[in-house]
Amino acid sequence: MEKFEKFTGIVAAIDRPNIDTDAIIPKQYLKSIKRSGFGVNLFDDWRYLDPGEPGQSNTERRLNPEFVLNKEPYKHAQILLARENFACGSSREHAVWALMDFGIKVVIAPSFADIFYNNSFKNGLLPIALGDDLVDQLFAEMESAQDYLLSIDLEQQVVTTAEGVEMTFEVDDFRRSCLLQGLDDIGLTMQYAAEIKAFEQRYYEAMPWLK
């Protein structure tokens, strides 16, 4: 996993609550056995005017000119702004892979679905939960600005607007340090292999029917 560095990026906003994982990456693309290449099908139903199938070349499909990620400068967005309960629905990690493959590094919303929130950190995507009023404020500022930019500093846990207004956010220490150092979870857990083995011994002695 890549280290999460401080950056300033273009923000794209989708003003909807409950954006679900089917919207983020429709199921037909889950047939892939790879982790990459999902970016062109991010928000597929909203992004294209004609239906898509896996394996099809997306360059021949008609883009929906109204959809934010099809417009300049949002084609290059690195930050996505949305409303509450972002990425509810299925456990598909493809939702995270699609966002990242498109170039999104941070999603800001008032709240996230739990599984998506978890999946994000495993891949280096940072979900930032800000209060409703702050999210409202960002939406309002975006409306009146061209090329709206935000700076994200995970180390300091702050989002900074172009005007220099700072908004701090919460993230647990463990996840933060994994992201900052680009650490792989499995490797970390493997350090405790002896403890896991000792646990198993006690556990199966007490509950032999599970053995």
């Binding site: 909807r16 609550p17 409950n18 679900d20 089917d22 919207a23 429709p26 199921k27 037909q28 889950l30 047939k31 892939s32 056995i33 790879k34 982790r35 139903d45 239906p51 896996p54 394996g55 409303r83 509450e84 309960n85 509810c88 629905g89 299925s90 456990s91 598909r92 990690e93 995270v96 709240s111 679905a113 739990d114 599984i115 978890n118 999946n119 495993k122 891949n123 647990d172 220490d173 463990f174 979870d185 499995i186 970390l188 857990t189 493997m190 405790y192 292999a193 403890e195 896991i196 646990f199 198993e200 556990y203 509950m207 032999p208 029917w209 599970l210």
Partner: protein, 467 residues
Amino acid sequence: MAGKTLYDKIWESHQVRRNDDGTALLYIDRHLVHEVTSPQAFEGLEIAQRPLWRKRSILAVPDHNVPTTALEQGITDPVARLQVDTLDQNCDKYGLTEFKRGDKRQGIVHVIGPEQGATLPGMTVVCGDSHTSTHGAFAALAFGIGTSEVEHVMATQCLIQKKSKNMRVTVDGAVGEGITAKDIVLHIIGVIGTAGGTGCTIEFAGEAITNLSMEGRMTVCNMTIEAGARAGLIACDQTTLDYVKGRPFAPAGETWDQAVACWNELHSDADAVFDKEVSIDAGEIRPQVTWGTSPEMVCSVTDTIPDPANEPDSIKAGGMQTALDYMGLRANTPFNQVLLDKIFIGSCTNSRIEDLRAAAEVIKGRKVATSVKQALVVPGSGLIKQQAEDEGLDRIFVEAGFEWREPGCSMCLAMNADRLEPGERCASTSNRNFEGRQGQGGRTHLVSPAMAAAAAIKGHFVDVREL
């Protein structure tokens, strides 16, 4: 000190270690695997050259992509076939238990786990699928995980987890005649909302819940994820034990007694304190129908389609209007004027024998309305299909005009050929009515099996109690 909740008990018994930052390493007993969320995990293990920690914890089955038409035809979609073949190859290579296509035991992962006794009380159960919450019906801590976590469990038998909050939803009193588990859970979601359980594990309690069969309890826990909670739980009782006893993976003989002694503790202590409590009056629950594109957009079939004009919160009202537009519905329309194109009885929410019996009872001696283009019944597993056929249910369905299919996820998420065309409207016993869930542009109304059956006969929604 206050007593412990059921969730506390299972959590504590599986905690391998606690980290300083409040996370814990949680031991996983059962790992269910299917074709969609596992290939990248197997690939990851291979790249890192890591062995599987405990092969026998895994039970694998293809379900999401498999066609539900005759077996001999094989899988014609090459992309889907590659995914199913990849699962078969991975399972063969590592020597994992898999119920392959054509095996009687194959079916939807959340149906076959309990059916085989592979889900046992007190276990931790995970699967790369959000509806893993289903298994909570057995007083098992069961939740969906992403592919990275699938790989993590394969390699270490553990997950790094942060404990969630304790929430209890108590459904007091008994439900009325004709009200099913599906109506109960849809009603709960309508009350608490799709984010009502975010960050929590929900324990379902109360007379209406304990009165349910295991099938009904699974339906309730299945949709916990639609209420925002990763896991739902129901205490272990005699109903649980009766269901589990004698299943292929369940303990037998002396270890059965030993297990039961332990399982009898699987309930919240009387003095346990919950972070959040909701209580619901079972007597108020009517047959439910969703009208929008989120499971919380639900009301009683006796109501009319809600009117955004009556919603004081303007953001919510806007959301309601967007949903109505997508669904092609007008506010204040009675449900019996909502005409249906397709009917789907199936999915891990409602494809068990009890669901098929309930639908068949409504259908018996009647015909699917001529205006309905397609009505599908997709049993949850090969064994359920067989049992239904032994009971003659398949004939009731077929004579009425339903198609009787092979087991799989089917039109629940439309990864195979079973799907809605743009604009088509479906009464579905599945769990998600998101935009495009059952096919791009498709319109889904979530209902119970009996309500879906009644809608099939009439061609529009109808209160099943009045049929």
